[in-house]
Amino acid sequence: MKLKARALAGLGGAAASAALAMALLLILVARAPHQSARAADLRTSDDAAARLLQRPAVAASGVVLCQSGLQTGAAEVRQALQRTSSDAGLVLRAVEFAPLSSDLPRGMSGAQMRLVVNGGDKALAQFLRSASQARLPIVLDAVEIKRLGGGSVQAEFSGRLLCRRAA
C-alpha cells in the first residue's frame, strides 16, 4: 500500500513536471516578447507589400533619367552612343553636348545634345533598335534622316540629355 501511494505521488509529480515544462515552453517560445515585436513589424511590412502590389503599373516613356549628374551622364551617354553606332556599323560624325537653352521642370538638369551618324539604312535601323533597348536618358526633339547616295544615309539627332537633380 505504501509503495502504491508512493507510485501515485510520483505520477502526480511527473504530471506536475510535464505541466511545468509546457509552461516553460509557452514562456520561452510563444510569449517571447522580442519575437512578438518582430512578428508585428513583419505584419506591418506585409500590409505595405500588399498595397504596393495593388499599385498600378507606370507607363514609362522609353526614356530614363540619368541619376549620376550631368557631366557623368553626358560621358556615359557619349560612350553608349559610340559603342552602339560602332556595333551597328555606323560612322559617328559628331556627338556634342552644350548647355541647355530652355528651362526644365524643377528637380531636373539637362544639356543639349547633337548626334550625327552616317552609314547604311540597315545599320541605322540596327542602331535605333540598340539605342531603344539601352533606354538612354535622351529626349529627341528633332531628327532628320537624309539620303546621301550610294545606299548611304545620314541621320542627325537633336535632343536633350535629362538628369535628376540631386535634392
Binding site: 515544462a21 516553460l24 504596393l52 516613356s61 530614363v64 528633332a142 535628376r164
Partner: protein, 265 residues
C-alpha cells in the same frame, strides 16, 4: 509468547571538538572499526550523549547486537545519566528504505528529464522562429527597396512627362521607321525623313504618296523641286509598363518551415 531480549554490547567513547557532522562521521567510523564484533556480523546503533557545543569534546554511546538475532527491538538504557534509546535497522527495513530511495530517485530523474526535454524543444523552436523571422525580415527589407525603386521610377516618369519626353525616344523613331519600311510603296524613293513635333515628314521623289497604308493620316504639305513632302501622323508613343516585381525570398538552408512563425501576439 514473549520475545527474548537480545544480547547486546555497549561502549562509550569521546570524539574531539569539531563540527557536529564531523563528530558524527568520526563516531560512526570509531563505532564500526573499534567494535567487539566484526562489522559484517553486527548491527550498530550510535547515539550522542548530551548536546553539541562548540569547542567541547563529545561523548557517544554505541550499542552492538549480533546480526543473527534479528529482528531486534529497540533497547532503552541509561548511560552517564542520559536515557538513551538504541534502534537497529533490520536488513529488510534497509532494503525497503533503499527501494524507496530508488523509486524516489527514478521519479526525480523522470521529472528532470521532462523539464530538460521541454527546455530543449522550447529552445529549438525559438531558434527556428528566430531563423524564420530573420528570413522574413530580409524579404521585408527587399520589399522596402522595391518600394523605394517604384517610387523613384514613378517620380522620374512624372518629371520626364513634364519635360515632354512622351513620344520622343529612340524607340519612337525606330517604331516610325519600321512602319514606314513595312508600308512603303515599292516604287517610292524617300529622300529625307524628319521628326519635329507631333508629325513625321517624309520627302519623296514624284507626287505619289510614300506609303500605300491608310493606318495613319497622310497629307502633302509642300513641294521641293521634283519631290513632294508628306506629313504623316505619328503613332501613339512607345510605352513600357513598369510595375513592381515581388522580391524573391532569400534562400536559406532547410530546417525552417516555409510558413510564417506561429507567434502569439
Amino acid at each position: 509468547m514473549t520475545a527474548e531480549a537480545p544480547t547486546w554490547f555497549l561502549r562509550c567513547f569521546e570524539i574531539p571538538a569539531g563540527a557536529p557532522w564531523r563528530q558524527w562521521q568520526a563516531a560512526r567510523i570509531e563505532a564500526t572499526h573499534a567494535g567487539p564484533l566484526p562489522s559484517a556480523a553486527s548491527l550498530v546503533s550510535v547515539r550522542r550523549l548530551g548536546r553539541w557545543a562548540p569547542g567541547v569534546t563529545a561523548r557517544f554511546a554505541v550499542a552492538y547486537v549480533r546480526r543473527d538475532e534479528r529482528p531486534v527491538p529497540p533497547i532503552e538504557t541509561v548511560v552517564d545519566g542520559h536515557s538513551v534509546r538504541f534502534a537497529f535497522a533490520s536488513a529488510a527495513a534497509a532494503r525497503t528504505d533503499l527501494r524507496d530511495l530508488a523509486v524516489t530517485g527514478l521519479y526525480v530523474a523522470t521529472a528532470v528529464l521532462c523539464v530538460g526535454l521541454a527546455m530543449e524543444k522550447a529552445l529549438a523552436a525559438r531558434a527556428a522562429n528566430d531563423l524564420l523571422l530573420t528570413r522574413e525580415e530580409v524579404r521585408a527589407r527587399r520589399w522596402g527597396v522595391a518600394e523605394h525603386r517604384a517610387d523613384a521610377a514613378a517620380k522620374d516618369e512624372d518629371l520626364l512627362r513634364r519635360a515632354g519626353a512622351d513620344g520622343r525616344s529612340f524607340a519612337d523613331v525606330a517604331s516610325d521607321l519600321v512602319w514606314l519600311g513595312r508600308t512603303k510603296r515599292p516604287s517610292a524613293i524617300i529622300e529625307r525623313v524628319r521628326w519635329n513635333g507631333p508629325a513625321m515628314r517624309v520627302l519623296v521623289d514624284g507626287s505619289a504618296p510614300p506609303t500605300t497604308s491608310d493606318e495613319r493620316a497622310l497629307a502633302p504639305i509642300g513641294k521641293i523641286a521634283d519631290a513632294r513632302e508628306w506629313e504623316v501622323k505619328r503613332s501613339s508613343p512607345s510605352v513600357v509598363k513598369i510595375g513592381l516585381t515581388p522580391p524573391r525570398p532569400p534562400t536559406h538552408p532547410a530546417r525552417v518551415a516555409p510558413t510564417r512563425p506561429h507567434v502569439v501576439p
